[in-house]
């Protein structure tokens, strides 16, 4: 019923958009209202052990407007209603669930249906509805993309903007070094989406000061810093990045579809056994918004020197991505799949959870003894059957918080310069060099190796089952991007009408003692760690053909350390006037399981066909 309503709205808006000529847009002397309706359908073609299936059918209805009551004041609004028509209505697609206790060494995973309840035990006992993806309709958090007012001083000395909006920093594409003012919404698609679409706008205020127009540029000019300007940012509404972990644990089940973060493989690094009978309840430890103590502050000094544009950036904010913090666990007596319904639930605090896992003779010792001869089953006293003897009836659901309550302290600079001294190619075009550097202080990580209170050294997933004070450490991290943009004219293409825009970037992200750290907890398969110097390379190109009616764009990212590769290919068919914008988009991700970002989405390849009607 809900979808029929959404479809009705979309069809109505689409018809309205098609029926309204561009020249008849809703507008007046100083105001304008426009919008677009986008509907996509997709095919997911790289599902493990499954045939091709219908993927997300994302839709977006967007209405934008602006009003300029005077030359110095502009008011803007932008509102989105988006979702996925295939969420809960599409075909079953299967991903990995908790460790399969019927498999050898518990090393396989039960299946997990990303579109509702699984087909049942054995094989696919789990699944979840894609509730969050169906319709993003939280007015403040999801519908308002911009509601702002800006005042510009007529003499150009300052500009003040307040409201809900977003602002981009830095020059990097694909990876964020300085573009840190906003968290990201990674729920619909996590990789290679447009920055505008993924940034989460915040209620914030900015003040731009032009030092020359203010008459205070002298000291900067004396230092060779020309046209200095300062941007100050205050963000009282703190957001963290949003994503969905495809969690099979019945008490915390969630599905983000093919772009949900996969449930991690829970493998004991010592025995190489799967951690059978273990589920995970996920909670969040968020920062309270609109409190001065938690607000985010940014400053950016912009100037020109040595023929280049420079920025010096500083940000005192909050972390967008979490670390994992153990909060305790629930022993589920009555369900080996961790389903508390109809079971007895015995809560354990952190200390008892750590003990149940690591203490001599407890869970991990039992697990590790299985290949050579099991020791005594440690949970018999709770009424749990020994799984080596009879049908299991218990599970332990670990309770983890995704903890965002850490400050992000970052400084950096960017440098952009057209290399005028260098003229290349058949038309003697200069490349544009981009350089970006950031240094983040005390970035929190989960430790991949810990010493338990019982003197055992644990590495990998089992190291997360520890008091957070031992699990979470902070490291300084610096990142460097060197990039070149170049407008390519081909010498053998005589009729080339427009250049091919190309952009190459190389990244190095340095973290001290990275091999002790999870790249992103809890993913730890095959020892995935933070490389001391993590290198990426990206390449972006776009090309217009047929008088730019056929527009082709490719964006690739290569993760050198994890040997991962992501490619996004877009083809826009702008053959149908100004109202209709068809697009084909192909996303290919190749990476080893849980090895860096590509490894998380190695089976998320899809091709999407979309059509946008704009008015």
């Amino acid at each position: 019923m809900r979808f029929q309503g959404i479809r009705g709205i979309l069809i109505g808006l689409g018809v309205f958009g098609l029926a309204t000529p561009v020249s008849h847009a809703l507008e007046g002397e100083n105001w304008w209202i426009g919008g677009r309706i986008k509907q996509g359908v997709s095919v997911a073609y790289d599902l493990p052990g499954q045939s091709d299936k219908a993927g997300p059918a994302n839709f977006l209805a967007e209405v934008n407007g602006n009003w300029q009551p005077s030359d110095d004041i502009s008011v803007k609004g932008s509102f989105w209603l988006r979702g996925d028509l295939n969420a809960n209505n599409g075909p079953d697609t299967r991903q990995g669930g908790i460790q399969d206790f019927t498999s050898a060494g518990f090393r396989d995973q039960f299946g997990f249906n990303t579109n509702g309840r699984g087909s049942g035990f054995p094989g696919e006992p789990f699944g979840a509805d894609q509730e969050e993806l169906e319709l993003f309709d939280d007015f403040n958090e999801e519908v308002i993309r911009e509601a702002s007012i800006k005042y510009r001083d007529p003499d150009g000395r300052f500009a003040f903007k307040v409201g809900k909006f977003q602002r981009g920093w830095g020059q990097s594409d694909g990876l964020r070094l300085l573009d840190v003012l906003h968290a990201q919404d990674l729920r619909e698609r996590s990789v290679l989406r447009d920055a505008e679409d993924t940034r989460i706008p915040s209620w914030m205020a900015t003040l731009d000061l032009d030092f020359r127009n203010m008459g205070i540029a002298g000291p900067f000019e004396a230092l060779g810093m020309h046209r200095p300007a300062l941007e100050l940012v205050v963000i009282p509404e703190v957001n963290h990045s949003r994503f969905i972990v495809n969690n099979p644990t019945p008490s915390s089940a969630a599905s983000g579809g093919i772009w949900g973060f996969p449930f991690p493989r829970l493998i004991d690094s010592k025995s190489n056994q799967g951690l059978g009978f273990i589920g995970v309840d996920l909670g969040e430890n968020e920062v309270d918004s609109f409190e001065l103590d938690n607000s985010e502050f940014g400053a950016r000094l912009k100037f020109e020197a040595l023929g280049a544009d420079w920025t010096l950036n500083g940000f005192y904010g909050q972390q967008d991505l979490p670390v994992v913090a153990l909060q305790g666990s629930n022993l589920i007596v009555g369900s080996p799949l961790g389903d508390p319904t109809g079971s007895t639930v015995i809560p354990l605090d952190v200390a008892n959870t750590v003990g149940a896992a690591h203490a001599p003779g407890q869970y991990l010792d039992f697990l590790r003894s299985l290949p050579t001869g099991p020791i005594a089953w440690p949970l018999g006293a709770f009424g749990c059957n020994d799984p080596t003897v009879t049908a299991p009836n218990c599970a332990l659901n670990l309770d983890f918080d995704l903890d965002y309550d850490y400050r992000q302290k970052l400084v950096g600079f960017s440098f952009t310069r057209e290399m005028r001294e260098l003229k290349l190619g058949p038309k003697n075009v200069s490349p544009v060099m981009r350089l970006e550097f950031s240094y983040e202080f005390d970035k929190p990580f989960n430790k991949a190796t810990v010493v338990t209170p019982f003197g055992e050294v644990e590495t990998g997933t089992t190291a997360l089952v520890i008091d957070p004070s031992q699990s979470i450490v902070e490291r300084d991290q610096w990142s460097l991007m060197v990039g070149f943009d170049y407008f390519l004219w081909l010498p053998f293409w005589e009729d080339q009408r427009s250049s091919i825009f190309t952009s190459f970037q190389f990244f190095n992200i340095h973290t001290d003692d990275g091999d002790e750290l999870f790249f992103q907890a809890p993913y730890s398969a095959a020892g995935s760690r933070v490389p001391e110097n993590h290198n990426y390379a990206t390449f972006l190109w776009n090309l217009g053909l047929m008088q730019e009616k056929l527009f082709i764009e490719g964006l690739s990212i290569y993760d050198d350390d994890f040997d991962g590769f992501i490619h996004r290919q877009r083809v826009d068919f702008n053959f149908f006037g100004d109202k209709i914008r068809p697009r084909l988009e192909w996303v290919h991700v190749d990476g080893d399981d849980e090895q860096g970002i590509p490894g998380l989405f190695g089976n998320s390849d899809y091709i999407e066909a979309s059509i946008t009607v704009q008015f």
């Binding site: 510009r152 920055a195 032009d210 038309k427 003697n428 217009g544 008088q547 527009f551």
Partner: protein, 469 residues
Amino acid sequence: MKNRSIKKILLAGVLSMAVSGAVAAAPWVEQWQAFAASTGDPNHAKWAELIASPEAVKLAEEWAKLRGYTASELIAKADIPADLKPGLVINRDNMGSYSWLKDYLPPAIMAQLQSTDWFKWSEIHIVPTNSYYMSRGTLEATREAVEQGRKFNATPEGNLLTEDGQHALATQGALPFIHPSNGLELNWQFVAHGVSIDNLAFKPVVFDVCDSSNKIERQYEGHLWWQKFHGRNDIEPLGSIPNKEGIVEGGGMYFLKPFDIRGLAAVRLRYAAADRDDDFRVFIPGLRRTRVLAGSDGQDPMAAGLEITWDEWRSYWLKTNPEAFDYKLVGETFILAQPETGHVYNPAVRDESRCHVEKVELELRPVWILEIDDKRGDYQYSKRRIYIDKENYYMQHEEMYDQRGNLWRVWDDVRDFDPKSGQAMWKTVLEWNPISNRLTHLLMDSSWETIHKEPSTTTFDIDQLRDYR
């Protein structure tokens, strides 16, 4: 019937002399008044009234005195065919009757007059020749320079310097070569014409993209600004815009339509120094980020599907570079060109498709022919042939040839020229591509009422322009 028309024209002339205080009117004014009376077209009457205003006539005559001639005088001295006169109507059917037409009509326009399918120019109406000139401030600055005997130096490196070695266009407001003796001087005089106003604002400019089937393929709309940063003679602040040292001028544009490019903003600044490429920045709404583009490459279309490249922004935006280009003054002639009557009316009327010209007025203009040859073969055009008006030093017509020597693009425009002030913006631009049969038509709404306050100090700051709307 013919005698009655002549009587009407004479009577109109007499009446206009009476209105203007019995002072002999300038010849172009007389001709226009007579022509307006003969056509009965209110647009013609309004235009004739405007150019007859005392301040317009005075300004025109002062410019004529400075340069030493008017277009009317040059035409009067030339051997012009007797039937090439106001009121003549030329179309495809009768054009064969005028053997002289090929000598006065640029070949690209002749082709469109002959066209039976793509981008037809159906009917040409000959109107009287006007007098065009620049602003009073430019007049006075140039006159002073001439009287003082100031010399300008067009260097082989591509700089235009004053006698004390400063960049002329970044320090003063006089035109450098009112009597150009070679192609490089003519090029600089044309460049110094700039946009013929200190501040320019189009609100909006509408781009219609016509395909080879004469259908509107795309339409763009945006607001566009231009500002002369130095040598400002007419609009406050006079002299120089603060904090723009070394920068000659700037242009900014904010796209409003279609929806998917709304918010795209571009700022391009032209440095005076020959060895400094333009500062070219674009705010990309999809990224919410400003990108620096290569100022050395202005050869891409301004937007998808347009024939206008960044180097044709305000008709000619290629940086002067004698090392890369030959600038040749190849001749002088008279051509038929659209009158700059945009302040009152558009002399070209499109048909319903908006991709054909149903009727267009042309007037006879004295021009220099400037050819700019690409010496290295690495520019998009092997040659530009520009017909530069001898009165106002702005182009009347431009042909651009590809590297194989084929005519690739043609520019023909109508200025929004205010005869009273001598300032000008634009009304329309036609840029067509005879190879792929595509047309870009620009229609500008010059914002005369706001140019005293815009562009503002923030217009050319891309970080401010991005929030314009």
